[in-house]
């Protein structure tokens, strides 16, 4: 997704319980429009209905992998929520959903 959405004029917000200093450094080196946000207590994850209770490697709560495309009015235009943590969306599908907004 880092490259697929490079020139789409879109803001990517990547949310996890981590503080993500390293991820943000990587994104800036790649000049990707990623902003990593820390949901330390998973309150936002929970509000979005994406809490995977005890799903982490040490039995901690983690977010279910999800990708949500919002238009300029903040309306959900496309979304995918993984029901198997090996599965991630195809970046070309996400890019297509973003392009469909314009």
């Amino acid at each position: 997704m880092l490259t697929e959405l490079g020139d789409e004029g879109v803001q990517i917000l990547a949310i996890s319980p981590d503080t993500n200093e390293r991820s943000q450094g990587l994104a800036e080196r790649l000049k990707a429009r990623y902003r990593f946000l820390a949901d330390r207590d998973l309150a936002v994850t929970q509000r979005y209905g994406l809490l995977h209770a005890r799903g982490g490697d040490k039995g901690q709560d983690v977010p279910a992998p999800a990708t949500i495309v919002l238009d300029r009015d903040g309306i959900v235009r496309w979304l995918t929520v993984a029901d198997n943590y090996q599965v991630r969306p195809d970046p070309t599908d996400v890019a297509r959903a973003v392009r469909a907004i314009k």
Binding site: Y48, V76, V81
Partner: protein, 130 residues
């Protein structure tokens, strides 16, 4: 050697499924169909089982033991361990996304609402902890 052809094919299929899955993890169509490796183990087990029934000799038994073990482990991982139980969906296409404000990597608060009227946003939730 050719009389153990099916056993060899079974072992190659089992190992090929593992190597193939991890080699093509970056290819969405492979990564997003993890049941494919379970199916390959099942096929390998079926071939080895037929070979073992026809000739219960150690090469066939080894192929059977390997493929059945992988089928059990792979099936358990894919269908039980990796499964994410999801509650009722809160997000719906056509509905507004709930607003939030979260700190970025430098601690600066970022509000979803601040992008309204300016740019489309892709919100990605990921598991983290690496």
């Amino acid at each position: 050697m050719s009389k153990y052809g099916p056993a060899l094919f079974s072992v190659a299929l089992s190992i090929g499924a593992i190597v193939g899955y991890f080699s093509f993890l970056r290819v969405p169509v492979i990564r997003n169909h993890p049941a494919l490796y379970v199916a390959a183990f099942a096929l390998a087990a079926a071939i080895a089982a037929v070979a073992t029934v026809r000739a219960p000799r150690w090469p066939n038994l080894i192929a059977l033991a390997l493929s059945v073990t992988l089928l059990g482990l792979g099936g358990y991982f894919n269908f039980v361990m990796a499964r994410i139980p999801l509650g009722p969906p809160i997000l719906r296409v056509g509905q507004p996304a709930p607003d939030f404000t979260l700190p970025d990597a430098k601690g600066t608060p970022v509000a979803l609402a601040s992008f309204r009227g300016r740019t489309p946003v892709v919100v990605v939730f990921y598991r983290g902890y690496w």
